[in-house]
């Protein structure tokens, strides 16, 4: 039975991203589906990618959904590195076919806003944040 599962969608995007060797080279698998509570924690290794849900909609039958996401590239080192991480994510995610073995959802993603950049004092890291729409069925 079709179910528009939001966690599966996040895993679909996450696993799609870390399926790219270019992204793995940059963040070494550190692609998370939520922000940390304490970014000051020294155990949080950067650079990394964070996928953050920003709303969306699903149809009545739960057969398909559209979810807005923010995709962050974070770097403690420089804005340039944050942008480089974001660019790698963009090249692999935008207009791509999302399909991962073992996950019930398939779909596609499209960037809707180019990245916003800046320095986050609380996190103490540079970021580049773009917006996406992810469409899935399954």
């Amino acid at each position: 039975m079709a179910t528009s599962n939001i966690e599966t969608l996040l895993q679909l995007v996450r696993q799609h991203l870390i399926g790219s060797s270019a992204i793995l080279d940059l963040v070494d698998g550190r692609c998370h589906t939520s922000h940390f509570f304490d970014f000051d924690n020294e155990t949080v290794v950067m650079p990394l990618i964070i996928i953050d849900i920003n709303g969306g909609s699903a149809n009545y039958a739960s057969a398909s959904q559209m979810v807005s996401l923010h995709v962050y590239g974070y770097s403690r080192k420089s804005q340039a590195e944050a942008l480089k991480i974001y660019q790698a994510a963009y090249e692999h995610l935008n207009a791509s076919e999302l399909s991962v073995t073992g996950l019930s959802l398939t779909g596609t993603a499209v960037e809707t806003e180019r990245p916003l950049t800046g320095y986050n004092d609380q996190i103490r890291a540079y970021f580049a944040r773009g917006s996406y729409r992810v469409f899935t069925a399954g």
Binding site: A61, A63, S64, E97, T106, F135, A137
Partner: protein, 203 residues
């Protein structure tokens, strides 16, 4: 179980745009059976709104009695329109989109300067073209093909020199009735305008 939730197949759900391919129309009945599909070329980048295919079937109702009840309904007009917004300055596409005009390429001046030219105006004929749309379905991975056997430009288009957005050109086509497909086979009575194909793999 959710209330009034239908049962369906998510394999039949899809999202996203399509790729548009075009070429000149040729009467295969006169040139002999040939695969016209091989002449199709990708029209290039299109706008975010993608491609729109509009199928219409206008009906005429025969009514009788008082109050008048519909006794019979028959089709008076069937048509297909295809529209999309090109964002490429490609003069060859302009010719298809207008059904008129011509292009030339010449080496002019000194060195390697090439001049591409587009001429328009003075020919009353509306030339024909062929259009194919290709879309890979997001869920099933199947490929949808729409083959519009014989098309003509439906209108002109504006050329906006805008400051804040990329130049874009709205192309509109109407599909004509055709006696033959692109491979020389005669088309049946219900096959004259378009053909949708759903392929289990990417061609």
């Amino acid at each position: 179980m959710a209330l009034n939730k239908p049962t369906g197949s998510t394999n039949n759900i899809s999202f996203g745009p399509a790729i548009v391919s075009m070429c000149d129309w040729v009467d295969v009945s006169s040139v002999g059976a040939t695969n016209r599909e091989q002449f199709l070329v990708d029209v290039g980048y299109i706008g975010e709104d993608g491609v729109n295919v509009e199928l219409t079937s206008e009906k005429k109702n025969i009514v009788q009695g008082n109050p008048q009840l519909i006794e019979y309904s028959f089709v008076t007009t069937q048509s297909v329109n295809i529209s999309f917004t090109s964002i490429e300055w490609d003069f060859d596409r302009f010719v298809w989109a207008l059904g008129a005009g011509s292009t030339t390429t010449a080496n002019t001046g000194t060195g390697t300067m090439t001049t591409l030219s587009f001429f328009f105006g003075g020919n009353p004929l509306n030339t024909e073209c062929q259009i194919m749309l290709q879309h890979k379905m997001a869920s099933s991975g199947n490929t949808l093909l729409l083959k519009a056997w014989k098309c003509q430009s439906e209108s002109g288009f504006a050329i906006p020199f805008t400051a804040t957005e990329e130049h874009s050109f709205e192309f509109n086509f109407i599909v004509l009735g055709s006696d033959y497909d692109w491979y020389g086979s005669a088309l049946g009575a219900e096959e004259s305008l378009i053909k949708f194909e759903r392929l289990s793999t990417t061609p």
